[in-house]
């Protein structure tokens, strides 16, 4: 019997990429300076913070969940990063340790931020799996909790770093490319590999597609779910370091604001189904870039910043409705 590979190019897979290319072309025509390397790198740097979170969010959404707490979580982890940085820096001051001390303090800050992210992700995952509470509710709750903790610790003010090197790191550029962009792409490559080539990645898709079949296939459904929340927590921990270093401070009221929106939007625009079961990490990277380019163009064309949310909203709804359309076409032929 003949077993052939389908020739049909699937819109499902390449839709977001096609949209990105089209957007780049249109933007260049509207505003030729758009395509300058400097501008492009700037856009990439801007999107990399929420982009990194979107990478983790991709796993959560594929597994059939959602995480609304990532914004507040960023603030909390970032706050602890700066507090740690300052404590270590001041603690080491009397030894006048030079560059080694700087390195130590930054590493400590990063480690604490990441641990906070992992722990917060674990709490979300634990409540969802063992507590059997809907992800939307759990993370809506922790969103409030994390923000409130940040505000309390920071007395609703700003966390300022005492180390200028921390800020230098946040602004650093390696081989012409900003540090966050490097990290964004390295993590994307890594997580894409995890999704496509490891058991865990396959299990995430299985759990999101049909939980019961997954259970009957000897997959530890709760563990898979839990880990996906922990992954998003890890990503948040990393972003928190990058963004707090970038500003060399962190506002307890504003840090991470709307990050959940941007991260979820990037995932959805990137073609990952909100119903779970399938999706793509690189798709989310593309989704983040699409959002970034739209923002950039609106700025360049002088559109009121108050209207940018409107455009973003339309793009999200549009992306989902296009997906839904493809999905339905598939269904009538089922």
């Amino acid at each position: 019997m003949a077993v052939s590979i389908p020739k049909k190019l699937s819109l499902d897979k390449y839709g977001p990429l096609i949209a990105l290319v089209a957007l780049v072309i249109v933007s260049t025509i509207l505003y030729p300076r758009f395509i300058e390397i400097r501008n492009l790198l700037n856009i990439l740097r801007q999107v990399s913070y929420t982009g990194i979170i979107a990478l983790g969010m991709t796993f959560v959404i594929i597994s059939g969940g959602i995480d609304l707490s990532v914004g507040s979580m960023t603030a909390l982890a970032g706050a602890f990063a700066i507090l740690t940085l300052n404590a270590v820096t001041q603690g080491l001051m009397m030894f006048s340790p030079g560059w080694l001390g700087t390195l130590l303090s930054i590493l400590a800050a990063a480690a604490v931020s990441i641990v906070i992210g992992l722990a917060a992700g674990f709490v979300n995952g634990f409540l969802v799996t063992k507590g059997r509470i809907a992800p939307f509710i759990v993370t809506l709750g922790t969103m409030a909790i994390f923000r409130s903790l940040t505000l309390y610790i920071g007395k609703a003010g700003e966390f300022r770093s005492v180390s200028s090197s921390y800020g230098d790191m946040g602004m650093s550029v390696i081989l012409g490319i900003p540090l966050p962009v490097w990290i964004f792409f390295i993590l994307a490559a890594l997580l894409s590999f995890v999704l496509n080539r490891t058991k865990f990645g396959r299990y995430v898709c299985a759990v999101g597609s049909n939980e019961k079949v997954a259970r009957y296939s000897a997959i530890n459904v709760d563990k898979v779910r839990l880990i996906s929340y922990v992954i998003v927590g890890l990503m948040v921990g990393i972003t928190a370091v990058l963004i707090s270093a970038r500003l060399n401070s962190l506002s307890s009221t504003n840090a991470g604001k709307d990050y959940e929106m941007d991260a979820i939007a990037a995932v959805v625009i990137g073609g990952t189904a909100m119903t779970g079961g399938k999706g793509s990490v690189w798709g989310s990277v593309i989704g983040a870039m699409i959002l970034g380019i739209i923002n950039n163009m609106l700025n360049m064309l002088g559109v009121s910043p108050y209207l940018q949310g409107l455009v973003k909203g339309i793009v999200i709804i549009g992306a989902v409705s296009i997906q839904r359309g493809w999905f339905n076409n598939g269904r009538t032929e089922k």
């Binding site: 077993v3 496509n196 049909n210 079949v213 259970r215 009957y216 000897a218 997959i219 089922k334």
Partner: protein, 498 residues
């Protein structure tokens, strides 16, 4: 005789692959019209066109002498066509009565739902089907597959339809429910309802149908009055050649005990189950629906918690904490509920086959090459008919999905395999392949627990049979004493106490 449905040149292509070609038939009002054919022959595709689920690529349809276009299921229902689909189409979070009236809810004068009327109508339908044990308020997800099947039937007859299509309605049913269904068919027929009946159980077709159409590879082969065609001839036309009617020779193994279940109980489902399974043995489990066979299998696999009792493997107690434990210990389970717990319809063939055994392919990263290699092996071994290895399971015919499900459960290289309705929806030829394969496993020292509602295959395949009723083992029959009557005596309680 009056013609109710006429088709002319009906064809269907999926991404330019033709799966149905030039079907022109006339279905008479008030007859039971059988359709048979191998897995993937196009039976379901044909009736889905009649039910408005698919649009034909070419061809015309007449209903009641009028040319019609059936663009969607609502159109079909509008002219009196209903369908009992091969795969359940019930919303598992909703309860029975809500499913039956889904989209056709009864409403009171004040605009509120008339729940009372819907529930009482549901009760009436269920008692007509002799399954009053199903609660109209029960959620679909809590029902067994057989009960789900009965709900599908109730749903199809809830609204007086003139043309009722049944796509393999009996794969999940035991002889008792099959009798109920046949009585229902007779009754509907007496009221002038036309019935299209698809089945791989040729005996049933012979008994209930007035005429039978044979399809092969999407082509019309023949349409015959049932009186003029025997069961062997039906099989021959389906396959295109002579079929040897055989079960492979039994080789009763007197090997040592490999699995021992002792006083196993699950609240309300299983009571004091004890039995031994020997190396290389094919041990049958017979019983009526609700006897607890599937629940027992699930408990052994660690998918349900036992409240008391012991399961030991080669003398050592088996600890079942997570689903993986049983698989790791060398057990494997083929679920009776194909789409509910067996396969992921949105995954492709390869990913389904390797889902449980993925650890074997991920060391530490998944080797797609190895996965594909292995999948090709099963596709050949079981003659699975697929458009491509990367076709999603939802694009496969029901019988071919079943074969993928079987391949998936074997790919863990189990020492003990529990197969629950393994030949569900599988055509006559492939059935024989599977019987030979299962016997081959046993001969290679693998122990098989064979659960089936088809007594013929229980008798033909098993070295020993345990009969369950209401969660208890009520009888045991050695191979030489197997007969349908004897099994039914125990299954229905004439023998065996309780």
């Amino acid at each position: 005789m009056e013609v109710i449905v006429k088709t002319e040149g009906i064809a269907k292509e999926f991404s330019s692959v033709r799966v149905l070609n030039d079907i022109s038939v006339e279905i008479r009002a008030g007859e039971v019209f059988g359709i048979i054919g191998e897995n993937g022959a196009g039976k379901s595709t044909f009736i889905k066109i009649l039910a408005g689920l698919y649009q034909p690529t070419a061809g015309k349809l007449w209903f009641d002498g009028k040319a019609v276009e059936i663009r969607n299921p609502a159109d079909a229902r509008g002219i009196g066509i209903s369908l009992i689909p091969q795969e359940f189409n019930l919303v598992s979070d909703l309860c029975v009565y809500e499913n039956i009236f889904l989209g056709e809810e009864l409403v009171q004068k004040n605009g509120f739902l008339d729940i009372k009327a819907m529930v009482s109508r549901t009760r009436q339908l269920l008692s007509e089907l002799d399954v009053s044990s199903i609660d109209p308020y029960a959620r679909i997800q809590d029902l067994s597959v057989a009960q789900k099947q009965m709900v599908e039937i109730a749903k199809a007859i809830a609204f007086d339809s003139r043309f009722l299509i049944m796509d393999e309605p009996t794969t999940m049913l035991t002889s008792k429910e099959v009798e109920i269904l046949f009585r229902l068919i007779e009754r509907l027929k007496a009221h002038g309802v036309t019935i299209v009946y698809i089945s791989h159980k040729l005996k049933e077709v012979k008994r209930i149908c007035d005429r039978v159409m044979v399809l092969r590879d999407g082509e019309f082969i023949s349409l015959e009055e049932i009186a003029n065609i025997g069961i062997d001839e039906m099989a021959r036309r389906m396959v295109g050649r002579e079929l040897k009617e055989i079960f492979p020779e039994k080789k009763p193994a007197a090997g040592e005990v490999v699995l021992s279940v002792h006083n196993l109980s699950v609240e309300g489902l299983l009571h004091d189950i004890s039995f031994d399974l020997h190396v290389g043995e094919v041990l049958g489990f017979a019983g009526l629906i609700g006897a607890g066979r599937t629940e027992l299998a699930e408990t052994i696999m660690g998918l349900r918690r036992a409240e008391s009792g012991e399961i030991s493997l080669r003398g050592k107690p088996l600890q079942l904490r997570k689903p993986w434990d049983a698989v790791h210990a060398g057990l494997s389970y083929l679920s009776e509920d194909r789409q509910g717990s067996g396969i992921i319809t949105s995954f492709d063939v390869v990913k389904n086959i390797t889902l449980t055994s993925l650890r074997e392919y991920a060391k530490p990263f998944i080797s797609q090459k190895a996965e594909i290699e292995k999948s090709k092996f099963y596709v050949d071994r079981f003659s699975i008919k697929i458009p491509s290895l990367f076709a999603k399971l939802e694009q496969l015919s029901g019988g071919n999905q079943q074969k993928v499900s079987l391949a998936k459960s074997i790919d863990t290289q189990p020492k003990i395999i529990i197969i629950d309705e393994p030949t569900r929806g599988i055509d006559v030829k492939a059935k024989r392949d599977i019987y030979v394969f299962v016997r081959g496993l046993a001969n290679a020292g693998i122990s098989v627990i064979f659960i089936s509602s088809e007594l013929e295959e229980i008798i033909g395949m098993c070295d020993r049979v345990l009969i369950m009723r209401s969660g208890r083992i009520v009888g045991e029959l050695p191979s030489e004493k197997l007969s349908e009557e004897e099994i039914m005596y125990f299954a229905t309680g004439i023998k065996g106490g309780y």
